[in-house]
């Protein structure tokens, strides 16, 4: 690779140019690999329309199951509105996940943490701190022009909050099968999934702003609900990155677990003996 030209101060110019000697490039590479793996797996899983439930377990990619997939009589048990609608256009994939994934997908895409991660990893803007950016000579407009839509993150948030309650419901019903209370590995997987997604969602910057942060006098000397909620959201907010990654990976694990059970590849260890 040709050496980067040096400016006053000896700072190298150009994409990736830096005097840093640490592994600054590890983080963007890991981000690219995990994000691409997630997108590829999620798209594939969402388009299948099969193997998304087993016993009391429902894949989080397919929850809430508004309509059971065509031909999936067993799925009616989890479905909110019954069988797949006959009016569904034939050119759109008939998979329940396509009705759902747009909501958590848009929430994560516009999330402040994920913005940091993909601006660094995918657009090189910059790829690392004090590292030369990609397209450094092009006019830079930040989030003022084409990226103004990022400001609508708060509108994706209510759906994400609703989904936390729905996934929690799924976790609770996963302890109930054929009229008997029990527990299986799948129940624990789905419970952890609800907890991690909840911890990620309630640390959202927009959530923290709307519940209290937008006012200057949150307590005004009293133990207000607003101030208490803001304090708790701040705890999750400090760990937003960790919960973003954990919940992203775990939701994939949860879908894969249910899928492999449904396909008969693995068996669930549970108290129901099935």
């Amino acid at each position: 690779m040709a050496p980067h030209p040096s400016a006053i101060g000896g700072h190298a110019q150009g994409f990736g140019a830096t005097e840093r000697k640490d592994g600054w490039w590890v983080e963007p590479i890991v981000t690219v690999v995990v994000f691409l793996a997630f997108v590829v797996y999620t798209t594939w899983a969402a388009l299948q329309g099969t193997h998304y439930h087993w016993g009391p377990y429902l894949s989080p990619f397919y929850s809430p199951l508004l309509f059971a997939a065509p031909g999936d009589a067993a799925g009616l048990h989890h479905s909110w509105f019954g069988a797949w609608p006959s009016w569904w256009p034939s050119f759109v994939p008939a998979s329940p996940a396509v009705l759902i994934l747009i909501f958590p997908g848009s929430f994560r895409f516009t999330c402040y943490y994920y913005r940091k991660a993909y601006y660094r990893a995918f657009t090189g803007s910059p790829p690392g701190c004090a590292v030369g950016p990609l397209a450094g000579r092009r006019p830079y407009r930040g989030e003022t022009f084409l990226l103004l839509f990022q400001n609508l993150h708060r509108y994706t948030m209510p759906f994400a909050v609703l989904l936390v309650f729905i996934l929690s419901y799924d976790a609770v019903v996963s302890y109930w099968w054929d009229g008997r209370v029990g527990v299986g590995v799948g129940s624990i997987v789905l419970t952890l999934n609800a907890i991690l997604i909840g911890a990620y969602t309630f640390g959202c910057h927009s959530f923290r702003h709307l519940i209290g942060g937008r006012t200057d006098c949150m307590s005004c000397g009293k133990a207000t609900l607003k101030y208490g909620a803001w304090k708790r959201a701040s705890w999750f907010n400090e760990r937003h990155m960790e919960f973003a990654w954990l919940s992203l990976v775990w939701v994939m694990v949860a879908d894969l677990y249910v899928r492999l059970l449904s396909m008969g590849v693995i068996t669930d260890l549970n108290t129901w003996g099935r």
Binding site: I8, G10, S125, A130, P133, N151, R154
Partner: protein, 248 residues
């Protein structure tokens, strides 16, 4: 135990310059600033560097050490491998005056542009009252020592001509704006200026400012993002705008 270390220091001025290499004895417990002073005393009497408190509180000795914006007085020599050559450069974002000294006066000009604190009228007994819980978050911003490491590392100022074109005021001053805007006694409305004059939208929240802050201020999460959210309230949230129209 004393060891000999290799330093590669950029020397020059606005007309040009280059790296000079120094072999220097380093004693246990030294920080980079100590070593630079020893080089200045023993090998390069005209080496220019700015420093003052040697305690990480004045923000004077900001420079780039092995490519990272850091305070020289807070960078311990035992954080490097003994065989490692340590590269020291001036801040990239600001014009070089001489060697490791840069002209940071652009920052002072930005500070003057910010509308000042405008407290509400005093209570009937003549006091100003506010509550600790409500000022906690702005007190975090008051820890800033104005070292300008955040300004240096911010790619909008560093690589995107944000300083030259005055399109972005930088993280340090968004933090100052946040400290005023969130203050429970303050009455001024700076939100239109935060967007239009100070360029909050130019920040793409890559958090490098937070990573380099020697005072560990959560610049992005607690300062810039809440400001951006207030800008959204005012300019980009149709429901909030409608509610304001109806209810005032």
């Amino acid at each position: 135990m004393a060891t000999t270390r290799t330093f590669r220091i950029w020397r020059g001025d606005a007309r040009g310059g280059g790296f000079e290499q120094f072999e220097i004895q380093v004693d246990e417990g030294m920080v980079v600033l100590d070593v630079l002073h020893r080089i200045q005393a023993q090998q390069a009497n005209d080496l220019a560097l700015r420093w003052n408190c040697k305690a990480g509180k004045c923000g004077s000795c900001s420079m780039e050490i092995n490519g990272k914006p850091k305070l020289a007085c807070m960078t311990r020599m035992n954080s490097f491998a003994e065989s490692e050559t340590i590269t020291v450069q001036p801040l990239k974002t600001f014009p070089v005056m001489k060697d490791l000294v840069t002209d940071v006066s652009w920052n002072y000009a930005q500070n003057k542009r910010i509308p000042k604190f405008q407290p509400r009228p005093r209570d009937p007994d003549g006091a100003y009252r506010m509550y600790q819980e409500d000022v906690d978050r702005v007190q975090e911003f008051r820890k800033c020592i104005e070292c300008y490491l955040c300004q240096d590392v911010c790619h909008v100022l560093r690589d995107r001509h944000g300083r030259e074109q005055n399109t972005f005021v930088g993280p340090r001053f968004l933090i100052r704006l946040a400290s005023l805007e969130m203050h429970p006694l303050d009455t001024a409305d700076r939100i239109p200026a935060v967007r239009d004059e100070f360029g909050s939208g130019m920040c793409n929240i890559t958090k490098c400012c937070t990573e380099v802050c020697p005072e560990h201020i959560h610049i992005t999460d607690n300062g810039i993002i809440p400001l951006k959210e207030r800008v959204v309230d005012r300019f980009y949230d149709p429901i909030a705008m409608l509610m304001r129209k109806i209810f005032g």
